[in-house]
């Protein structure tokens, strides 16, 4: 049996839940067709999560590519199809282009080992200064901190996921609450073991009365828990939390059936701090959003 998964017109972290609601009930070995023909836009989160979705399936899925040429062209410039061709059976015409995409700080990039993190850091430093300082009007101090945060969230894949994942970084105009303010977004997605299973693998781990994906996210993100006994572990995400707090940004992490968010002090986002009972999706999907500074 084959099931068609309809992808919403606008594919970002929230609307990706519609995809997961369709996929989660299906057996892993059931063939799926991921239908993006009517997609009009996808955030870095949407693109990286689509790749993680394919990795999570036992049976290689089919991807119907977007029909709109500008969308297909943009996904090409993000290097999405380059990676998707390895994971999906692509159907439809892929619009290829060699034009550079100025809003893209980092195309969709595979992360599976420490050297990949070095490559990402080297690559983004060349582009981050201009994008963050000139285009988003942020203080020059942010460039190094931004790259540190990117490095740490990528390392989570290498250290904890147990399999490879994806990262992408882009600036775009946030239309949900900011009335057209620009943002820079880091998206990292993997289909690995996720936060709960990672903590459960800690030596001497004891299950608490209430123990689920939401609890695991709270322990890790808010209290710096780690599967390692080494007290130096768990600092990366704590550093990322401080970074987003200092720049009025937002950090959200989805793992298993829950999503936790460190919310901005300003009112540009109305997310919930913790959302549970979502459709199951393996691994971890991280999004960091930093808004343009308005003077």
């Amino acid at each position: 049996m084959t099931t068609i998964i309809n992808v919403p017109h606008s594919l970002e972290d929230k609307s990706f839940e519609q995809v997961l609601d369709q996929v989660a009930p299906l057996p892993l070995d059931e063939k799926i067709i991921v239908d993006t023909r009517h997609a009009r836009w996808a955030s870095p989160y949407g693109l990286t999560a689509l790749l993680a979705l394919a990795q999570s399936r036992a049976e290689r899925p089919v991807l119907y590519v977007p029909e709109a040429e500008n969308v297909s062209s943009y996904w090409s410039r993000m290097d999405f199809f380059k990676h998707a061709a390895e994971l999906y059976e692509l159907q439809g015409r892929v619009k290829s282009t060699k034009a550079a995409e100025t809003s893209v700080l980092l195309e969709v990039t595979s992360i599976s080992k420490s050297d990949d993190v070095h490559d990402v850091v080297d690559k983004i430093q060349q582009r981050a200064q201009e994008a963050l300082v000139k285009n988003l009007n942020l203080d020059a101090k942010i460039t190094m901190r931004f790259t540190m945060a990117l490095s740490e969230v990528c390392q989570n894949i290498v250290e904890h996921a147990g399999r490879g994942g994806w990262v992408a970084v882009q600036t775009y105009t946030w239309r949900v609450r900011l009335g057209g303010r620009k943002v820079v977004v880091i998206a990292v997605a993997d289909p690995g073991i996720g936060f709960r299973q990672s903590l459960e693998s800690a030596p001497g781990f004891q299950r608490k009365d209430r123990w689920d994906d939401g609890q695991a996210l709270e322990e890790t993100v808010m209290r710096g828990a780690s599967r390692f006994r080494d007290p130096g572990r768990g600092q990366g995400l704590a550093g990322v939390r401080r970074f987003v707090g200092n720049w009025d940004g937002k950090l959200s992490i989805r793992s298993g059936t829950a999503r936790i968010a460190v919310l901005p002090k300003g009112d540009w986002d109305e997310d919930e701090p913790l959302v549970e009972d979502l459709s199951y999706f393996p691994g971890a999907q991280v999004q960091i959003t930093i808004p343009e500074r308005v003077t």
Binding site: S114, R145, M148, S151, P231, Q235, R242
Partner: protein
């Protein structure tokens, strides 16, 4: 004395394996130069230092030498070329491990960074200003008993923030140029 420019190895110090590799190299060099050393770790040419790498290079390195029970050797560290973004990562790992270190800046001024009590900081500053001091100097300046002042300096020595010469102490980083400690 060992001078080590960490950028000889990598320009961006990111990831835990990179940090561990750099630390191991520093430890091996320290093992070769004797039981007592003052080491300058220079970050001037390091672009990015992330939290994981700072934990490996700075915190785990210091932990080897400030162990109360069995320090690896009598090694003191001065950190140079620390930028504001390096400091974010370094302060975070020092706090996590309750450590402190001495940074030296372009103007020659040294600063104590990390977790120290108010009295420990005061004692370190007095020794630093004097160039060399004994427990009586600290006792007089901050109103401690001689025994408590000696205990305070002993604690700073164990934390490798002051160097002990017989009964006198020198603050790490207080000299314009690092001193040769080996006889």
């Amino acid at each position: 004395m060992l001078r080590k420019s960490v950028c000889e190895l990598y320009s961006n110090l990111v990831t835990r394996p990179t940090g561990a590799a750099v630390r191991c190299e520093i430890e091996q060099e320290l093992d070769r130069i004797g039981d007592r050393a003052l080491t300058v770790i220079d970050f001037s040419h390091v672009g990015l230092l992330d939290f994981s790498c700072a934990d490996e290079i700075v915190a785990k390195l210091l932990l080897q030498y400030v162990s109360i029970d069995a320090p690896r050797q009598e090694v003191y560290f001065v950190f140079r070329g620390i930028s504001e973004s390096h400091m974010d990562a370094i302060e975070a790992v020092l706090e996590r491990h309750q450590l402190a270190l001495v940074t030296q800046h372009a103007d020659g001024e040294s600063r104590l960074v990390g977790i120290v009590s108010v009295k420990e900081r005061k004692a370190w500053e007095i020794i630093s200003q004097l160039g060399s001091g004994v427990s009586a100097d600290v006792a007089d300046a901050i109103g401690l008993s001689p025994a408590d002042a000696e205990l305070m300096l002993d604690t700073l020595w164990r934390r490798r923030l002051v160097i002990r010469y017989d009964s006198a102490y020198v603050a790490v980083g207080s000299a314009a140029e690092p001193m040769r400690l080996d006889a």
